[in-house]
Symmetry: C2
Subunit: 348 residues, 2 copies
C-alpha cells in the first residue's frame, strides 16, 4: 500500500491505557494516520490525557460523527481477555462498512464467521481483515533458533499488558539508531497490525507455539539482533502457555523484564505477583537446559507516577535485582540497549 491509511479506531467503552492497548500502540507507532477515535464514554475528551499519546486526535461518539474525518479503515482497538468483542460493536462495524471503511480486527472472534458482517462487507465492497486468522503452523519447536547469527532478545513480563511490545519496539529503534541491523518480531495483534508482519502467537494451536515462533526467528536470523515482543507472563494462569512457548521458541540470549510497579496482582486475577528476583530466576531456569540466556535489565512502566516516586522505584528495582532499570517512555532505552549488547562475563 503506497498511500497512508486514514484510521478510525474503535474502543467504545474501553478507552483506558491497558485495555485499549491496540489503540495506544497504533497511535504511538503506526506509520498510517489515526484520524479519529470512536468511544461514546469519552466523546469530546482529550486523548493524550486519557492514554498518554494521540494529542489532537478527536474522540467522537459513533461512526456517523467519525465520517467527518474521512477515515478509510476501522480498526478495533482493544484487547479484551479471551479476545471476543462486545455484541454491541457489531452495529459499529456494520455502520463503518456502510460508510465505506475497510475493517481490521485483531480479536479471536472472526469477522469472517459473522454472516451479517460478511454480507455487509460484500455489499459495500470493503475488506474484512482478521489479523488472528493465521494459517495454522504445524511444526513443533526444537530450539533450532539457537543457531541464528543474530543475538536474540525477548521482552518478558511480570504480568500481561504492561509494555512488552512497546519496550521491544523502542529497543529495536535504538539498536537501529546505533547502526545495527535490528529486526522486530511482532507476536501479538497490535504489533502485527503496525508492522504488517509477524504472527499472532496466541492464535496458534498449543502444540505448535514454540515451533511457529522458532520459524519466525529463523527467518530473521541473519540480522545483528532480533528483538521479539513477549506475551503474557510465565506465572499468569491465563497466559503462561503463550509465554513459555515464546521463551522456548526464541531461546533468547538476553531478556528484558517488563514490570509495572503499581501492580500487586496478576491482571484480572486475585493472585499476588511474586518478587522480581523470583520471576527472573524462573525465566532463566526454564531456559537453562536449552541455553544460558539471561535477564539483563528491567523496563518499568511507571505511568502516572510522580517524579520522586519514580526515582525511588528505580533505586529499589536496581537494588532488588542488581540490574539496570528504566521507564523507556520517561528516560529512553539506552541503558537497556547497553545491557543487551554487553558481552557475557567469562564466568557466567
Amino acid at each position: 500500500m503506497k498511500t497512508r491509511r486514514r484510521i478510525c479506531i474503535l474502543t467504545d467503552g474501553y478507552l483506558d491505557l491497558f485495555v485499549a492497548k491496540t489503540a495506544v500502540g497504533l497511535l504511538r507507532y503506526c506509520p498510517d494516520e489515526v484520524v479519529v477515535v470512536v468511544d461514546s464514554h469519552h466523546a469530546g475528551g482529550d486523548l493524550a490525557a486519557l492514554v498518554g499519546c494521540g494529542a489532537g486526535v478527536p474522540i467522537v461518539d459513533g461512526i456517523q460523527a467519525a465520517t467527518a474525518y474521512q477515515p478509510d479503515h476501522l480498526v478495533i482497538g482493544v484487547a479484551l481477555p479471551g479476545g471476543r468483542f462486545p455484541d454491541a460493536w457489531r452495529r459499529h462495524i456494520l455502520d463503518a462498512l456502510a460508510a465505506g471503511m475497510h475493517v481490521v480486527n485483531g480479536l479471536h472472534t472472526r469477522l469472517a464467521n459473522d454472516l451479517e458482517i460478511v454480507a455487509a462487507a460484500a455489499r459495500a465492497q470493503r475488506r474484512l481483515v482478521d489479523v488472528r486468522a493465521v494459517p495454522q503452523p504445524r511444526e513443533v519447536g526444537t530450539a533450532r533458533a539457537r543457531s541464528t547469527r543474530a543475538r536474540r532478545v525477548l521482552t518478558v513480563g511480570t504480568d500481561c499488558n504492561l509494555g512488552k511490545r512497546l519496550t521491544a519496539m523502542e529497543l529495536t529503534r535504538a539498536l537501529q539508531a546505533r547502526g545495527l541491523r535490528a529486526e522486530f518480531l511482532a507476536t501479538g495483534q497490535t504489533g502485527v497490525m503496525i508492522t504488517g508482519s509477524g504472527l499472532v502467537v496466541d492464535a496458534v494451536l498449543s502444540d505448535f507455539v514454540s515451533g511457529a515462533v522458532e520459524a519466525e526467528v529463523l527467518e530473521r536470523g541473519d540480522a545483528d539482533v532480533v528483538v521479539v515482543e513477549g506475551q503474557g507472563a510465565l506465572m499468569h494462569p491465563s497466559y503462561s502457555a503463550v509465554s513459555i512457548g515464546l521463551l522456548h521458541g526464541v531461546v533468547p540470549d538476553r531478556m528484558i523484564l517488563c514490570h509495572a510497579p503499581s501492580r500487586s496482582r496478576f491482571r484480572n486475577t486475585d493472585v499476588p505477583l511474586p518478587p522480581l528476583p523470583e520471576t527472573i530466576r524462573l525465566h532463566e531456569s526454564l531456559l537453562r537446559p536449552l541455553h544460558a540466556g539471561r535477564v539483563v535489565g528491567v523496563a518499568l512502566n511507571c505511568h502516572g507516577m510522580t517524579e520522586n516516586a519514580y526515582r525511588e522505584t528505580l533505586d529499589r528495582t536496581r537494588s532488588e535485582t542488581g540490574l539496570p532499570a528504566v521507564d523507556c517512555i520517561r528516560d529512553g532505552v539506552d541503558v537497556l540497549v547497553d545491557a543487551v549488547l554487553a558481552e557475557d562475563e567469562p564466568n557466567h
Copy 2:
C-alpha cells in the same frame, strides 16, 4: 455403544513402545477388544515381546490380512511428533473403509479434510472420527479450579512420552479400589479414545489451554479426587506450552513426577535432561503464586531394566528426591496413592 468394538490398530512401521503409545494404551486399558495390529515391519511377531502388553494379539502386514479377525474399527495407533500421519497410510485407511471399518484418528491431521477419504467413507457408509477435532474452547484460565471439593492430582514428567497417562489411570483405579470417588481426566488422544471423554489439550489454541483444562476439572470437581493426565514436559522445547497450560489449569494439590531413567536427553532433541530436584523445584515454583501444590512421588518407567538395576534406580531416586518412587507396572501404585492421600505437613 452397547456392544464392544472390535479394533484393528494401525502402527505400520512405528510399532515400538514409545511412538506406538496410542496402541499400547488401547491394548492395556480399552474396554473394547483389540483383535489385530497392522504393521508390515513386525508381521507375525510377538506383540507382548515388542511393547509389553497385548499377548496373543496377532500382527499382520496389511488391512486385507486383518479382515480375517473381523475388526469393525480401525484406530491409528501412533503419536508422531507434530501429529501428522505418513502419506503411505492413506492407502490403509481407504482399504479399511472399503472393508467396512469405521476409522478413528487422534493425530492433528484431520481425516475430515481429506476429500478422497471423506468420499470413500461416504461410499462405504462408515464413520470418520477425528479425536483432536474439538470445538475450540474460548475462555482464558483464571485458576478457578482451586475451588474444587476434589483433591486435584496431576501427573507431570521430566520428558514427553514416558508414562503420564498410564500413571494417572493406574492411580485412578487404585484410588477407586480404596473406595474413593476418583475421576480420571484424559488430556491426550489416547486417553480420550479409551475413556470417550476429556479433551485433547494440544489441539486447543494456546490462549485457551489453561481455561479449557480448568473447565474440565471443574466439571469433575465434586469427586473425591480428580486425577489429570499430564502432557509433555515443562522444559521440553516442543511441548512446554501444553505442559504449563495444564499446570495452571489444574492448579494441582499434588503432582506425581514421571521419569524414565534411561533418558538422558529430551526426546527428539539434543538437550540434556536437568536433574530431578531441579525439575521438581520448577513445577512447584511455577505453581506457587497460585497454590502450594507439591510433587509427592516419582513414577519411574524402568521398561527393560534388570531387577538389580531397577532396585538401584529406586534407591537413587528416593535419596535424590526424598520422595517415594516406584515403577507402577512392576510394583503397583500403592506408595504413590499413599502420597497423594497424605495430608500436608503443618509447616509446609
